[in-house]
Point group: C2
Chain length 379, copies 2
Amino acid sequence: MTTYPPAPLYPGNDAGPSGDGLLRVAPIGPLFLETGGELPDVQLAFETWGELDRDASNAVLVQHALTGSSHVARGASEEEGWWDSLVGPGRTVDTDRFFVVSINMVGGCYGSTGPASLAPDGAPWGSRFPFVTIRDSVRAEALLADLLGIERWHSVLGGSMGGARALEWALMYPDRVERCAVIACTAASSAEQIAFAQAQLQAIRLDPAYRGGDYYDGPLPEAGLGLARRIAHITYRSERELEARFGRAEQDAEQPFGAVLPSHRGRYQVESYLDHQAEKLVDRFDANSYVILTEALMSHDAARDRGSLDDALGAATSEFFIAAVDTDRLYFPVQSRRLAEGLPGNVPLHLITSPVGHDAFLTQIHQLDDQLRTAFFSS
Amino acid sequence: MTTYPPAPLYPGNDAGPSGDGLLRVAPIGPLFLETGGELPDVQLAFETWGELDRDASNAVLVQHALTGSSHVARGASEEEGWWDSLVGPGRTVDTDRFFVVSINMVGGCYGSTGPASLAPDGAPWGSRFPFVTIRDSVRAEALLADLLGIERWHSVLGGSMGGARALEWALMYPDRVERCAVIACTAASSAEQIAFAQAQLQAIRLDPAYRGGDYYDGPLPEAGLGLARRIAHITYRSERELEARFGRAEQDAEQPFGAVLPSHRGRYQVESYLDHQAEKLVDRFDANSYVILTEALMSHDAARDRGSLDDALGAATSEFFIAAVDTDRLYFPVQSRRLAEGLPGNVPLHLITSPVGHDAFLTQIHQLDDQLRTAFFSS
C-alpha cells in the first residue's frame, strides 16, 4: 500500500489538501472488462475533500449518478457541487473529519477514460469504446483506491446510478466496505428501466449526426442526446409535480394554438422546460458517454453470477443504509424495500418525502441528514 | 335531415345493413379548422353495424384511440375489431338493437382525409397538412352524422383519445348527445401527457427519412415512428406488468452480456417486446398521421374558451359514464375522478381492475359490461 498522496503516480496533479474539490487524474493501467473488452491505459478523474488520517480509516467514497461528475461539493472550487448540502465542513459527511473521494466513471466525459478519449491509434475511441458494466467501473475504482492508500472505505455512498456502484462495491469487495448507502437505487435495473433506457439509446442512434458514434470530427448529435434527456427527465420527475408546475400553461407569449401548421405552433411551458433540460445536458455531456453509461446502468444486476438475489445480497457484510424517494416512479420505493429485505439483518428503508420524484435524491438529500448521521457518521 | 342511407352522397359505397363492419367513405365538404387552417374536400371513412330505426333514436357512436381505426367490431368482415367484446350481436352494445357508427379521425390513415391524401395540387398534403384539434374532428363527425340522418346519438362512447372526442361531442353538441361514456380519458391532456407526446413527436421529426413530413416519394420514417411507439407503449403498460412479464430475461438465445461493443449485444426480452410493438405499428400507420393526431391529443382541453373547467363541465346536459383503469399511469384514475366531479349530478367513477395499465381499456373492457348495460343499454 502506498500512502496518500502518492505523488509520483499522477505528477503535476497533486493538489494536496488545499485542492479540495479540484479535478485530478490518475492512471490505473489496463482494464479487462466483463464482456470481453479491454481498455489498455485507463485514467480516472477524481476529486477529494479533507485529509486521509494516519490509519486510512476515514475515507468516504461518494458515487455520482448517470450524468454526474466527481464534483460532489465545493471545497477550493467555486463551482457548486451536486451534493453540497451533504458533503462539506460541518456537514453530515464532514470534510473536517472525513477524507471524501469521488471518481468519474470509466466511460464518462468528466476526465476519466471515455469514448472521446484517444485510443492507442491516436483517434478517439468513438464507436469502438467497449461495453463497460457497473462492476467494471467498480473494479477500476478499486485500483484507484489502492493508489490512494485506501484499503477499506469507512463508507461508500451513492444515489441513483451511484447507488448501483455503491452496492456493487459492497458485494464485490465486502472486506473493503465498512458501510454502504444506496439511495434511490435498487438491486437490479427493472424491465421498465431497461425499456426507457432503450428508447434513450435509440434516440441518440437515430440522430444522423451520431454516425454510429464516430462524430468527433463533425457536428455533435445534439438533437438525439437532447431527446434522450427529455425522455429521461420526465421519468426523474413526478406527474404530480409536472402538473402543479406547468399544467397546460403556455410558454410566455407563445401560443400552442397560434399556427395553422402544428410544426409552427407555440410551445406549452412543459415543452419549453424539457427543451431547456435538453439544452443544458447537450452543453455539458458527450452522447457516446451517455450511451456507454446507460448501457452500464441497464447491466446493473446484483444477482448476476451470484445465484439468486437473496444469495447475492445475503452474502453482504457491510452495514447498509437504504433510502428511496416516496414519489419516485423510476426507482420505486417498493424495489428499494426489496433490496433492504434481501440484506442480512434488519435493514430499514428510509424515505425522502417530496412531490418531485426521483430527482429529490439530489434536491432533498438533507432530509436524510439525521438518519445518515445516526447510522454512519456519529462520532 | 336526410334518411339513412343517403345513397347519392357516397355512390358505390352503400354497403347497406349486410355491410356491417365494412369500410365506407363519405364526403363532408370543406372543413375550417380551429387554428385557422382549411381542408377543402374532406372525406370521412366510417363503418356501421346494425340498422338505424325509423326515428333514428338507436344510433351509437364509438370513438377510436390514437392509432385505432373505425373497425370496432367484426360484422361482415372477418377482421378482428378492437372492441369486439363490447360491440356485436347480443353484446352490451347490441348491434341487433343499435345502429353503431365508428368514424376514422380527420388526419388519420384509415380512410379519412389525412396527410397522405392528395391536396388540391395533386401531391400529398405531407408537411402542409394543417393542425387539427379534437374539436375540429368532432365538427367533422357532426357533418357525417347529418349525412347519416342522425340528429341525436343514443350514446357516444370512447376510450383514451376516443374518450376525448366523446367528451367534446357532449360539450360542443349537448342537444345531440343523450349519453356519453368517457373511458380511460380525462378532461384535458396533462403536463406529463404533453411531455411524453413531445418526445414522440421529436422522435419522428429526428428521423432523417421524415424530411419534415414530405417523405411519400421515398423511404418511410420507420425508425422515428417506431421510437415514438416504444415511448408511448411503455406508458400504456404498467411497471408491475412489465416486470412480471419480462423482468431482466434475455430474448431467446440473445445475450445482453454477449458482446464487447454495446451496439452488438443481445437484447433483453423487454427490448424485443418493444421492437415488436414498434414494427407492428410501423407496418400499419403513417408517421404524419401519428404527428397530426398526437398534436390533436395534446390540444385536448375541455376548458378551452369555456371559462373554468367547472364552467365547461357544468354546462353539460348528457348522461355520463366515466371509467378509468386502476393501474393507468398515463390517464390517472384521479384525473378521471376530477372529470366526474366536474359534471352535473353525481357521476360515479367506474374502475377497470387490471395490472396492465392504460391498455386495459381495450383488453378488459368486458369488466364494464354490467355497469354500462345498467347505465346506458338496458331495454
